[in-house]
């Protein structure tokens, strides 16, 4: 068990204001399936938090409960998910976006039919120049390429780049490490952390891979069956133990 860290996590100052307050959030799908059932957590300004859990633990439902469901999905959301005091639980993605929440989903995270350049043009809210160099320099030489032809890692970078350019207050990233080579994951996470710190963006990274996530985050939540079963600072040694207990062996 090697517990190497990428960067020493700067734990946020205790008096940092809470940015996201989730209180007894429950997500129920139209077929009766429960995504999460009464989850509560807090993310402070500029804090990096990871949410760990197995497949089906409710991680994606939690993120979407905050980032919004389309009305057509007929999902029932109860409880509260307030961003800077304004409730977005059960809102549309549009409303959450207006409050500064951006979700980078696990699958289909880029527009396969658009080029990288067009993705950058799409991200308009930051009023920044689209010619400005990318936070992920690798993307700059890929600008003319169709996103559908990019590798998994490049897609992940592009999705994050689009998110950054919209100046989020809270960025939600669903399983960024999934399907990437370990080297690529390490690089991506370092960059993600650096940029989030530079821009003081709060971040929730949902992961199955605890070793990756605990090195990225300041604090961690472990969820199981749609409920929080453990929370604490990610540098606590017990974090890894607890995570291993709920995520299974080998992680």
């Amino acid at each position: 068990m090697t517990q190497e860290r990428l960067v020493d996590p700067a734990v946020p100052v205790p008096e940092a204001k809470p940015l996201l307050e989730v209180d007894k959030l429950a997500v129920t799908y139209s077929n009766g399936a429960q995504g999460v059932q009464g989850i509560s957590l807090v993310v402070h300004e500029a804090e990096i938090v990871t949410v760990l859990g197995r497949n089906g633990a409710g991680k994606t439902s939690l993120l979407r409960g905050i980032a919004g469901f389309l009305s057509s999905e007929h999902v029932t959301v109860t409880g509260r998910a307030a961003v800077a005091g304004r409730d977005v639980a059960g809102a549309t993605p549009m409303k959450s976006f207006r409050h500064g929440v951006i979700l980078v989903p696990e699958r289909d995270k880029v527009f396969a039919n658009l080029t990288v350049e067009e993705h950058l043009r799409l991200a308009t809210r930051g009023k920044r120049d689209r010619r400005e160099p990318c936070a992920f320099p690798a993307l700059d030489r890929l600008r003319p390429a169709k996103a559908g032809l990019l590798s998994g890692g490049e897609r992940q970078m592009l999705a994050l780049e689009v998110a950054w350019r919209n100046d989020p207050r809270l960025l939600l990233v669903d399983e960024a490490s999934l399907g990437l080579a370990p080297v690529a994951v390490k690089e991506l996470m370092e960059r993600l952390r650096t940029v989030a710190r530079e821009r003081r963006t709060a971040l929730i990274a949902v992961e199955q891979d605890a070793s990756v996530a605990l090195r990225l985050a300041d604090r961690a939540y472990v969820i199981n069956h749609g409920r929080v079963v453990w929370e604490g600072a990610s540098r606590q040694t017990s974090a890894a133990t607890i995570a291993r207990e709920y995520l299974g062996t080998g992680r």
Binding site: V27, Y29, N31, G32, A33, G35, G56, G58, T60, S61, R64, L70, E73, V75, P105, E106, R107, D108
Partner: protein, 363 residues
């Protein structure tokens, strides 16, 4: 739209019918199935003994359309598919019946049975290419079928049979079955049998499989459901039954011509199923009632207004168009506000009445 829908669960053992408040109430009542059967039989007997020839004629039409709409609901409500060519499949049954009715060996029920088989075969031929990909493609394939059948019917009739083919009335030995009374008995009995059969199928394993498929195709396929085969089964079955409807339609009209089985009829049938209510057997029957009675209603309205001259004349001239406008509007309202159609509306009203009644009794 793509993307994960969270963590879906598919319950294969689930039952497709929603629990009705009637069934849940403490006083024991007739189970819905038995109640439905009683209503059906009582209505049929009442119409048979009490109805004039015209009422019988309209009732036969309703029964025939109900056969077709119920089999289309099999597609929409169970398999999540759509066909734009029910009239074309009806034409298959109708032309088959017209040809066989003149053959001495094909005594009465034979043409209907052959129509059933031919309808199924056409369903198979159209369904195999149509279902290779998705429901969208079945929609376009059945649209093509509609054009092709119309064309083939036109060519088949040629110049020799411009007005179509005559259908000899059904006979059973010396028993004449072409009378309105006999046709009424035949069509209601067939409709009743089809309803019982479908009811049994929907409650058994196939119904649950279709239900699971509609809830989540990916999950159903993970559980080992062969999606294409189950969809094809539904399409072939519903085509066979639709052709039976076409066969009866031929007997009723005593004549078959391609122009009766137009795209307009196809679309009207599809619309009616939705207006009546998808997801139950009663809904499509209500749809069939509407399809037959709405034009009659407009006509009646014109009749009562005959004193007012212009309005009545306008209504008479435009009755088909007015009926269309009503269909279109009601369909949109149904899809937007009451997905279960007229059936759902009646059910809600029924519940309201029951709860009001109960409060009144308690006081």
């Amino acid at each position: 739209m793509t993307g994960s829908r969270g963590e879906p669960s598919v319950v294969l053992a689930g039952h497709e019918q929603r629990p009705s408040p009637v069934a849940r109430s403490r006083r024991s009542r007739l189970p819905p199935t038995l109640a439905g059967t009683v209503v059906f039989v009582v209505a049929a007997v009442a119409i048979f003994f009490g109805g004039s020839d015209n009422v019988l004629y309209q009732s036969v039409l309703i029964a025939i359309y109900a056969i077709v709409t119920v089999s289309q609901e099999w597609l929409f409500g169970r398999a999540g598919l759509i066909s734009l060519g029910p009239a074309a499949i009806m034409a298959v049954g109708a032309f088959t019946t017209a040809q066989l009715s003149t053959q001495g060996w094909a005594v009465f029920p034979v043409p209907i049975l052959v129509s059933f088989v031919f309808g199924g075969i056409v369903g198979l031929l159209i369904g195999i290419p149509g279902l290779r990909f998705s429901g969208l493609y079945l929609m376009l394939t059945t649209l093509a079928l509609q054009f092709i059948v119309t064309f083939a019917g036109q060519k088949y009739q040629g110049l020799d049979h411009l007005a179509g083919f005559t259908v000899n009335p059904p006979q059973w030995g010396s028993l004449e079955l072409g009378t309105p009374q006999a046709l009424f008995v035949i069509s209601t009995v067939i409709l009743g049998l089809i309803l019982l059969a479908l009811h049994a199928i929907y409650r058994a394993v196939p119904g649950r499989v279709w239900n699971a498929m509609r809830q989540d195709e990916a999950a159903a396929s993970v559980l080992g459901v062969n999606l294409v085969r189950w969809k094809l089964t539904a399409f072939v079955g519903s085509s066979a039954l639709t052709a039976v409807g076409g066969s009866l339609y031929a007997y009723q009209a005593a004549q078959v011509t391609y122009s009766s089985y137009s795209l307009d009829l196809s679309l009207a049938l599809v619309v009616m199923v939705f207006i009546g209510g998808v997801g139950t057997l009663t809904g499509p029957i209500l749809g069939a009632v509407v399809i037959v009675l709405l034009p009659v209603g407009v006509q009646q309205l014109a009749g009562t207004l005959s004193g007012t001259g212009d309005v009545a004349a306008w209504l008479t001239l435009h009755q088909a168009i007015i009926a269309n406008a009503v269909y279109g509007l009601v369909l949109l309202l149904v899809l937007l506000f009451e997905r279960d159609g007229i059936f759902g509306l009646l059910r809600s009203l029924g519940r309201l009445a029951v709860s009001l009644g109960r409060t009144a009794v308690r006081r």
